[in-house]
Symmetry: C2
Subunit: 346 residues, 2 copies
């Protein structure tokens, strides 16, 4: 009866399949030298015994730690900075968990730099790469090549559909836009709503806009949408755009689906009665926190950077260990859109 409680080991699998330990090992770790028929017998035994590699023993026995490389855009973007901070924090916490983490900054929005960095990854020293994807054919090809070399690629924040990436960690930006509209419509019985974007060349910004306008038109048809005006995620340009919007007929609300929120707040402050204009923005940063506290911003939609890094690491660990080879891949919970008011600021 002890046997019923004990977890199955590689020895049990070997016995069940009628092969030696060495063969089980070859199958488990994808090494060559096993006939297809034999490999199938081993796989059957694994399934029938519900064998799962003992993670502790496996990590202990490995010659090297699992290694995950993050390729994150550099630059002054506050959100990317908080992503990097989260990576550092997790790297610290994962000391002793046999997981080594490297973060390499990539020139922002530069497909060539990103794909070059992906191509340079050595499967001997990298099990998994986590990238903030720029949508470009070169990047797609680099991901394909990395995958062929045995490096699992995970996209973060910005996806790369149609590529060989194994997983996407991030929020649903269309849903984010829809949610923003749903709140804005309830906040403002009627009136003109100004829309600000960073750049419509970015996939996530396009998706947010799509969701926002769809819900506004369908559910709150009494409102007039102004824009979108592009602020290119820059404080100065965003301030100029907002000032221009405020110069027109009175606005009931403003939705900024991009960055540059410091500029937005500055423009509102100079305008005066900013308390009456409902404002919805994205990403919890120093600027948006201040905006929430002062009342300049009503709601912030956030993609929790820390949670995203944690999720990416969990996925990366899972793929790096090839855990999904013989059992269903454990689908991690999708990243949720965080909604923050002054009253639930974390």
């Amino acid at each position: 009866m002890d046997d019923l409680k004990r977890r199955a080991t590689v020895h049990d699998v070997a016995r069940e399949a009628g092969v030696s330990l060495a063969t089980v090992d070859r199958v488990l770790n994808g090494r060559p030298g096993v006939r297809g028929e034999t490999a199938e017998r081993v796989a059957d035994a694994i399934r029938s015994l519900d064998f799962r590699r003992d993670v502790s023993a496996s990590l202990l026995a490995r010659a090297r730690d699992l290694s995950v490389t993050f390729l994150i855009p550099d630059g002054s973007n506050a959100f990317m900075a908080s992503l990097n901070a989260a990576i550092t924090r997790h790297a610290q916490a994962l000391k002793g968990e046999r997981l080594s983490i490297v973060a390499r900054p990539i020139h922002a929005f530069d497909p060539a730099a990103l794909s070059a960095a992906i191509m340079a990854l050595d499967p001997k020293t990298t099990d998994c790469a986590v990238i903030v994807a720029t949508e470009h054919e070169t990047v797609r090809r680099a991901v394909e090549a990395a995958s062929k070399r045995g490096i699992a690629v995970v996209t973060l924040v910005s996806d790369l559909p149609g590529s060989a990436r194994r997983h996407f960690v991030g929020i649903d930006n269309v849903a984010a836009g829809r949610t923003a509209a749903s709140l804005m419509g309830r906040f403002c019985p009627s009136g003109r709503i100004g829309i600000l974007a960073g750049s419509l060349g970015l996939r996530d910004h396009r998706e947010r806009l799509e969701g926002f306008t769809a819900v506004m038109e369908a559910e709150f048809p009494g409102h007039e949408l102004i824009g979108p005006r592009e602020g290119f995620d820059d404080d100065m340009l965003t301030e100029a755009a907002v000032t221009e919007l405020l110069g027109g007929p009175p606005l009931a609300g403003i939705y900024n689906l991009g960055a540059g929120n410091a500029g937005l707040i500055a423009a509102l402050g100079k305008h005066g009665d900013s308390g009456r204009i409902r404002v919805v923005a994205h990403e919890l940063t120093a600027a948006t926190r201040d905006g929430l506290r002062s009342g300049a911003i009503d709601v912030v939609l956030d993609q929790n950077p820390d949670g995203e890094i944690a999720a990416a690491l969990a996925v990366a660990r899972s793929y790096a260990m090839g855990e999904s080879a013989h059992h269903a891949a454990p689908q991690p919970a999708p990243i949720e859109i965080g909604l923050f008011l002054r009253d639930n600021l974390r």
Copy 2:
């Protein structure tokens, strides 16, 4: 230079402290037979080498798995059911991670049953207990006793301040109430707001009410608050309470800070023009999801059960391994209040 990259092991600690492996082991695992002065030398070595127990090796070498026992209220409460479901899911996913999870149902809101269950925990088979606390002196004493026996206790959802519990995993319910008020105030320019509670004998319900009324009074003084009416988390009683509320002068909004949402929705449906009344409720369940989709409910505040279980397990694992003994305890991110509209339903 290899030495600089290698993680420190117990051997290194022993050498650095000038003691034997056995003594390091005694210190690390809190076994008796070490003079205070010697233990201090070992602790110094641990700090100076930044030694961290290798989690993989440690788990592998242990005679038994880490074991975490959940004591969760039973009954028909939809939220507790989803907590249990989350526990089952995680238990499944943690096969192979040397963590064994037991969930024991406890008669709801019964301090005697809860404390008896805590007293019955054997430190030989339980490293950590996660409880949904009922506020009572017996429970406090049981937690104290368990802690003395070497069982770390973590409170979930409902805290037990002033007890020997090592950690609380849950949301800030005052903030939740404040957030609900902040939304409600923005949704309704003015008017009467009905308030429903489960039972004001519950700490979390009291806290939500406190936060809600504080913000309504301070920021939206034009509104008249009706209630709270107690529905005792029961659909029938809640429906009756709502029907009574709807019989009075027209309401602009309803805040249900307890359960029984199916009753709330039923009463609204029978009343007719429910689309005009803004409704804020708690916990994503089948009932509240339906309410969001149909438009009967505008916003649901949720404490992600899955996230809470994950956080509780992380904390439990950390305490069960005594990781925080020589380094700063890794404070896990606090559980966030989830805000859900129809448009960002997960």
